[in-house]
Symmetry: C4
Subunit: 211 residues, 4 copies
Amino acid sequence: MNTSYNRIAGTGLERLAALSDGLFAIAMTLIVLEIRVPAREAVATEKALGVALIGLLPRIVTYLLSFLTLGIFWVGQQTQLNHFSRADRHLSWLHLAFLAGVATMPFSTGLLAEFTTFRTALLVYWANVLLSGVVLYLGWLYAERAGLVKESTPPDVGRTIKRRIVVAQTLYAIGAALCVVDTYWSIGFIVLVQLNYAIAPRIPGLSRLTT
Amino acid sequence: MNTSYNRIAGTGLERLAALSDGLFAIAMTLIVLEIRVPAREAVATEKALGVALIGLLPRIVTYLLSFLTLGIFWVGQQTQLNHFSRADRHLSWLHLAFLAGVATMPFSTGLLAEFTTFRTALLVYWANVLLSGVVLYLGWLYAERAGLVKESTPPDVGRTIKRRIVVAQTLYAIGAALCVVDTYWSIGFIVLVQLNYAIAPRIPGLSRLTT
Amino acid sequence: MNTSYNRIAGTGLERLAALSDGLFAIAMTLIVLEIRVPAREAVATEKALGVALIGLLPRIVTYLLSFLTLGIFWVGQQTQLNHFSRADRHLSWLHLAFLAGVATMPFSTGLLAEFTTFRTALLVYWANVLLSGVVLYLGWLYAERAGLVKESTPPDVGRTIKRRIVVAQTLYAIGAALCVVDTYWSIGFIVLVQLNYAIAPRIPGLSRLTT
Amino acid sequence: MNTSYNRIAGTGLERLAALSDGLFAIAMTLIVLEIRVPAREAVATEKALGVALIGLLPRIVTYLLSFLTLGIFWVGQQTQLNHFSRADRHLSWLHLAFLAGVATMPFSTGLLAEFTTFRTALLVYWANVLLSGVVLYLGWLYAERAGLVKESTPPDVGRTIKRRIVVAQTLYAIGAALCVVDTYWSIGFIVLVQLNYAIAPRIPGLSRLTT
């Protein structure tokens, strides 16, 4: 019977991963729909089309920003799931809460794209990133206490995962605080932090955090 | 040949799970689209944006309600699939009927969000939850009779799964009946029941139903 | 190296199944979006809401029709994939062509829902079902000739799969031809054929075709 | 611990494949939404419906073009993933960048459908195909250098994969250059190249490139 229960839990992890992959894939595709094809009637010449496409640049930047955010969370969640031996219903619900946060990222990014110079929009965006990160952190904490982490996982993996979330969220919070100066400073800072996580350049100090 | 057929059925279960995960992921993401970014033209100041965001609160509550409903059904279906040794075409169609019910949840919740004080909307929402639960119950009943449940599954698992659906649906029905007083009573009661299933607090009596 | 190639092909089948499950899940969810929540402004009383919901009935029937069609094709494709030992690029492209047909089903059904009494709409719907069925048939034929069918699959499985598609498509063609009388006769006949495939009642003669 | 890390990386490949399948499935279904059902009010007779449907032909061609493009990239990425023994974070991010390119294909194709005679639209479409191809090429290059390719993969597989991307992209570039004459020449040439990759006819010389 013990074996049977482990089998069940294993399948549970797979389905959690499958649900997450589906949800991330949809969120990543839906944000592209915000880059709208210019209306045919409003564009008569090649030059006018070029101008219309340049006018789409902010939405393209928004798309890339959202894509980076979603990619970072996808990699982060995957790293955690890889170290779990099984799931239980509490872990499932913590990750469902995380997915609820992920699913609202397109809304927050859309809000930021539409109200780029508004501090309120920037703080909503930041709150969304913060909440998703906090829930992901709690998910790992719970897994450690409930004995869901694989026995083969060395203890420093847990420390790395937790420190990484704390460092990233601290950097995001600094970025959000920069809106006291200007929202563009915040956005620029957050994009740089995200690119650092995505590209992981071998800058001493930085690279340690993103390994 | 017998081995070959078992293999086929096993793959069938996996694809049923994959189809379900995809469908749940899409439903969970589509309901977020109902939280719309305020129109740029209508909002001139930080204060106006704050007011517009507060106006989105009912839609955010609706989103969380839908997400809880979908999460509960996802966990419930997963629990059943974990205990099946294989699928056959009748089981597949029962779960397809369940998915047809799940896919209409965004509609029912959207209806309830738009017509919160209307008993008709509340009863449509309840009928959707009821029908999905009934089909899920029939799915388990059929699997037991057709010998699709794993031999390693102890008999009390079946009793727990069936009792849980009956208890949950009874609570939902009580919630729906409360609309004789007021639809807000119904909604509040159903949300509390759902949170209980999601968070599963260790309240004696309650926790037994949600294990 | 031989083992390595089999492994590759196996993964290919899995990814074909995953792509199909995702595409079917999205198509099944998108068709629900056609059932629109009535506009709040147009509905003032409980009675008016009831009337508005009854007005949605044709769209609900359309939704169920599409769901049945998609479910039948999903089960049919799954049955084939279960009997393949591996995929190659031709098989992949035949199934991609099948998926292209499946993805247009919401369009055809939407067309039929909007133009229920038009023979043109009915024939477009039928052409879509016919083409998808023909490509699925060709997929099996190709797999047999290219030696992609599992050795453990008894020869009568191939005969059953091919006969089933021919019988179903003949019944659909008869349904389409009934539009000479009236499109409602066609729709009614096709729905009955589909329900027969979904529910598979034990009517002698009929049940043989749907096993 | 070594075994454990391989296991982690293996799961990573599976999740990368699952995310990709989901994203491709959504992109393939979303492009169908561009084929819109004619408005009921504008169509009174069977003849008028026939005319309206013929008017949809360009959008149907666009749909098929997009579907071919997505199918070719899906098969191409799958071929690469099949030859990886494991993934690391750089490979994940290279494939996430590839997926970001894939997700924008519906936009580029929609742009081309709306502005068929505009060179700007054609060049945007081509740039999208080019960038996606380049990132996919870099993905393979990185995997080779980072030792992520399976040991059982013979060295000529890598050569074939790289040559295939270079040849295809050269043909696409020739197609794009043909817009000096006329955009229709470009589109026709690109469609023919794509059909060649999809159908893979046994024309000597051509077939070698598409194996």
